[in-house]
């Protein structure tokens, strides 16, 4: 089972930047992008389009944008933390905003870190490398227990 990084990002340019970065440097996991918070929850809970568990392997890490249409990032985070089977999933908030109130809210609601999206590619590359270095190489991640 090739567990991906789940990128929740509505903005195509941001998503494309991330995919670009992942193509140019080895992140150690493939990126799976969904475009909305609803899709992210469906993916994690194997619902709707993701009802086949094989098509939605549990992600190693969720990269979660805050400004999303529909369910916003913080609401998605709240949902993840409230479902026992997925609540341990590491979530990195990924936002263009550096507003302190958002940062506070994210950590309060159980984000594992908060990263400001860099604007240009080289900065993004650095950030992505650091993220993969920490989360995929240094950190010990919780194992996934399949709901029976």
């Amino acid at each position: 089972m090739n567990r991906p990084l789940l990128l929740v990002e509505d903005n195509d340019a941001d998503a494309m930047s991330m995919l670009r970065v992942s193509n140019s440097i080895p992140l150690g996991a493939p990126i799976h992008r969904v475009k909305s918070g609803e899709d992210a929850i469906d993916y994690l809970l194997h619902r709707g389009a993701y009802s086949d568990p094989a098509s939605s392997p549990p992600p190693l890490l969720v990269l979660l944008d805050i400004h999303l249409p529909g369910l916003n990032g913080l609401e998605v985070l709240e949902t993840i933390r409230s479902h026992p089977e997925i609540k341990t999933t590491p979530v990195v908030m990924f936002s263009s905003s550096q507003e302190q109130s958002l940062v506070q809210a994210a950590y309060r609601d159980g984000a594992n870190s908060y990263v400001q999206k860099p604007t240009d590619l080289s900065e993004l590359r650095k950030a992505a490398e650091a993220l993969s270095q920490f989360w995929l190489a240094v950190a010990q991640l919780p194992s996934v227990e399949r709901p029976s």
Binding site: A13, D14, Q100, T119, D120
Partner: protein, 766 residues
């Protein structure tokens, strides 16, 4: 001439001379003083003349022995009256049964005794007193104004009494008298229109005039008849003669009359309703003249009539005046209530305003800059007048016809403002704004120009009393017209002026209040629209940032994917595109931050400003080292309640500015404070008692003309590439943060030397 041993008095005693205790009477009548049992206790030394018995033989005798039975009965009847002054002169028969003599008797009570003053029978007056009175009444009633009324009164009194000269004399507020009406024959000089100085009738004489309505001096050269015994039995003073018609006369006054060429005089007081002396009817005769009591009481009646008529004319004039001005008042209030600014509407209402105050200039002082209308002193002088009024705690309504006399600086503008009528609209300190110095009182000032006036005095008033070679005092000997030119004096303010001013105050306060209300609602609307603007800027700047990020990202994609194909020229243009969008991003970020500072709630907590600034310096250390800038903190900064996160932004901005806009070899930035109770080291006026922080640098300084513009959003004073760039959003944001805290931020700077940014934080802890 010095007819009495008391003729010489010194100057200090003049105003205090005990005129009512002189102990003698004029010899044209006799005085008897008797006790409750009717026994004579005191008699004047001249009783032989009208009673045919010596004073000493009368002492202890019952009154019944002195008068015919019918006269005695009349006397006893009169004594039943509680107010003896209201009893008409009695016609009494005295002497022995064989040959009764008729005398006029006047009664009054004093010192626990009853005084009977007798004047030699003068026979019935030639004219029918009631006929005379009726015709006098008609003449007085039909007078058009006070002057005419006084003139007619003088004529009527002269007709009744036969004095050579009768003058009606009215006092001004300083007790100088002016001769307003005069009737005379060829033997008397005219004093019409002349002024008599206040010292002519000293205060204690005025008090007596107010008590004794009529006073006759029948012969200035008569030797007074003394009272026997001289002292009031059981007291160590003479009988109080203040209510006596015959009371002898102060030697100074006698001398005054002689100097005027007068041998007999009579004065009748004119009193206001409140008992204040309004004026006098003064009668003079060149030879001794005895006016019998009956005529005198007619004169008294006439004087009361005159006083009443004077007051009613005054009231009528005032009412007419007030009615006349009410039109101007209405016009003015209408004008001022219009939608125009107060300046504009006052300028438009100049005519009714000046007409209302009968003034040639007016100034309205509501704020710092007076609104001047017509001919006024300069704005600075107007403010000086207002401060002087405040400092001297003048009443709410204050009028003077000679401002230069009491306020020396006004001498320089006496021409336009000799007369001042000041109406205080609000008291100093009322309605002051926290954090601002208390507001000055608000005033409406009316000005009247100098009117050089010539006063004709009856003799030189400054020589009212003169010392002779033996240091004895004499009233002035010359009553020849003496002209005095009075400068720095305006037309006096009348009761009507004061009434109009008081009414105007009410109206103006109303207008100002309704304007304040209007302003208040404008402010609320402005605040709301500011909030909306903030919300709008916040949303717009936030929403624009997203697509702009996309633009930059696609520039990156383009460069990565097609950089080779674009060639050097294409790549250069891409660089420019990237730079421009980055710049736009910064501007949006600045706008976003500024609008955010206006919207967020401050998170106030107690903060160590020292730690906060140290932290800021740590954050900026890279840039500070790069600029070789030393940050000095001369003494530890205090702990305060504020929003630390926001205040960090302020210090970060000011410190980095100080280091950035600096061309010195050795650069420094100093951060310090002034505690609320410490002396004030800065140029601008201290805005209230509060904490003050400053960030001072030795940088390039800011020329005066830019010192205000620098706080405009995105305003930069230097080209982009100089001094490391910037968006020009930092200072507006810093100022806004300080203002959100209730403080103020400003700067003082000298080009080339350096700049000091100063900001205050209010004392209050929320």
């Amino acid at each position: 001439m010095n007819p009495s041993p008391a003729g010489a008095v010194d100057l200090e005693q003049c105003d205090r001379e005990a005129i009512h205790l002189l102990g003698g009477i004029q010899p044209h009548g006799a005085l008897l003083d008797f006790d409750a049992k009717g026994a004579v206790v005191i008699a004047s030394s001249n009783t032989d003349r009208c009673l045919g018995r010596s004073a000493s033989s009368l002492l202890g005798r019952p009154l019944a022995d002195l008068f015919s039975p019918s006269s005695y009965a009349e006397l006893r009847q009169a004594l039943l009256s509680t107010d003896l002054t209201r009893v008409a002169p009695l016609r009494l028969e005295t002497g022995s049964e064989e040959q009764y003599r008729r005398v006029d008797g006047l009664l009054h009570r004093i010192d626990g005794l009853t005084v009977l003053e007798l004047e030699g029978g003068s026979g019935e007056p030639q004219t029918d007193p009631f006929g005379t009175l009726r015709s006098s009444l008609g003449k007085l009633r039909s007078a058009a104004n006070q002057r005419e009324l006084c003139q007619r009164a003088a004529e009527e009194v002269r007709k009744l009494t036969g004095f050579n000269r009768v003058m009606v004399y009215l006092f001004d507020p300083d007790w100088n008298g002016e001769v307003v009406g005069e009737a005379r024959d060829a033997f008397a000089d005219s004093f019409a229109g002349m002024h008599f100085p206040a010292s002519d009738i000293p205060a204690q004489a005025r008090a007596l005039y107010a008590r004794n309505i009529l006073r006759l001096i029948a012969d200035v050269d008569a030797v007074p008849a003394m009272l026997i015994p001289a002292q009031l039995p059981g007291h160590d003073r003479p009988l109080d003669l203040s209510c006596s018609a015959l009371r002898s006369v102060s030697p100074v006054h006698l001398q005054y009359l002689r100097n005027m060429g007068v041998a007999a005089s009579m004065s009748i007081s004119l009193l206001r309703d409140d008992g204040q002396l309004l004026g006098l009817i003064a009668c003079h005769h060149t030879t001794p003249l005895h006016v019998p009591p009956k005529i005198r009481s007619l004169c008294t009646f006439l004087s009361e009539l005159l006083s009443g008529e004077l007051a009613s004319i005054e009231r009528r004039d005032l009412a007419e005046d007030v009615a006349q001005r009410s039109l101007q008042h209405t016009l003015l209030v209408e004008q001022l209530s219009g939608p125009e600014s107060l300046d504009e509407s006052l300028a438009a209402a100049a005519d009714p305003l000046l007409a209302l105050g009968r003034a040639s200039g007016a100034a309205l002082l509501l704020g710092d800059t007076p609104i001047c209308i017509g001919q006024t002193p300069s704005a600075v002088a107007v403010k000086a007048i207002a401060s002087w009024l405040d400092e001297n705690a003048r009443p709410e309504l204050f009028a003077t016809e000679s401002l230069p006399r009491i306020f020396a600086p006004a001498q320089s503008f006496a021409e336009v403002a000799s007369g001042l009528l000041a109406v205080r609209l609000t008291r100093r300190g009322a309605g002051s704004v926290p954090g601002h110095s208390p507001s000055a009182s608000r005033y409406l000032l009316f000005f009247r120009p100098e009117r050089i006036k010539t006063i004709v005095w009856a003799g030189n008033p400054s020589k009212a009393l003169a010392m002779d070679e033996q240091f004895r005092l004499h009233p002035r000997s010359s009553f020849a017209a003496w002209e005095q030119e009075v400068r720095a004096t305006s037309q006096p303010w009348t009761e009507g002026d004061l009434v109009a001013a008081r009414a105007l105050k009410g109206a103006l306060v109303g207008v100002v209040l309704s304007r304040a209300e209007h302003l208040d609602s404008l402010n609320r609307r402005l605040a709301r629209s500011n909030e909306e603007l903030d919300a709008f800027s916040y949303t717009v700047s936030h929403d624009l940032k997203e697509p702009l990020r996309g633009v930059r990202q696609y520039v990156d994609f383009l460069r990565e994917d097609h950089g080779e194909a674009l060639g050097a020229g294409g790549r250069e243009k891409l660089e420019m595109l990237d730079w421009l969008s980055a710049r736009m991003g910064e501007l949006l970020e600045g706008l976003f931050e500024l609008s955010r500072v206006g919207r967020i709630d401050l998170a106030r907590a107690e903060v160590s400003i020292q730690e906060l600034v140290e932290d800021v310096v740590r954050t900026l250390v890279g840039r500070l080292e790069e600029n070789r800038t030393e940050v000095r903190i001369p003494r530890p900064l205090p702990r305060l309640t504020c929003d630390g996160v926001r205040l960090r932004q302020v210090f970060a901005n000011l410190i980095s500015n100080g280091s950035k806009y600096n061309d010195k070899e050795v650069r420094w930035v100093e951060v310090g404070y002034v505690a609320p109770d410490e002396p004030w080291p800065f140029q601008a006026e201290r805005p209230g008692r509060n904490w003050v922080f400053y960030v001072q640098d030795n940088g390039i300084g800011i020329p005066d003309r830019f010192q205000s513009a620098i706080f405009d959003m995105f305003r930069r004073l230097h080209p982009q590439e100089k001094f490391g760039g910037g968006t020009g959003a930092g200072l507006p944001i810093a100022r806004r943060i300080v203002e959100r805290h209730g403080g103020q931020l400003w700067l003082q700077s000298e080009s080339g030397i350096g700049t000091t940014f100063i900001f205050t934080l209010p004392l209050r802890t929320p």
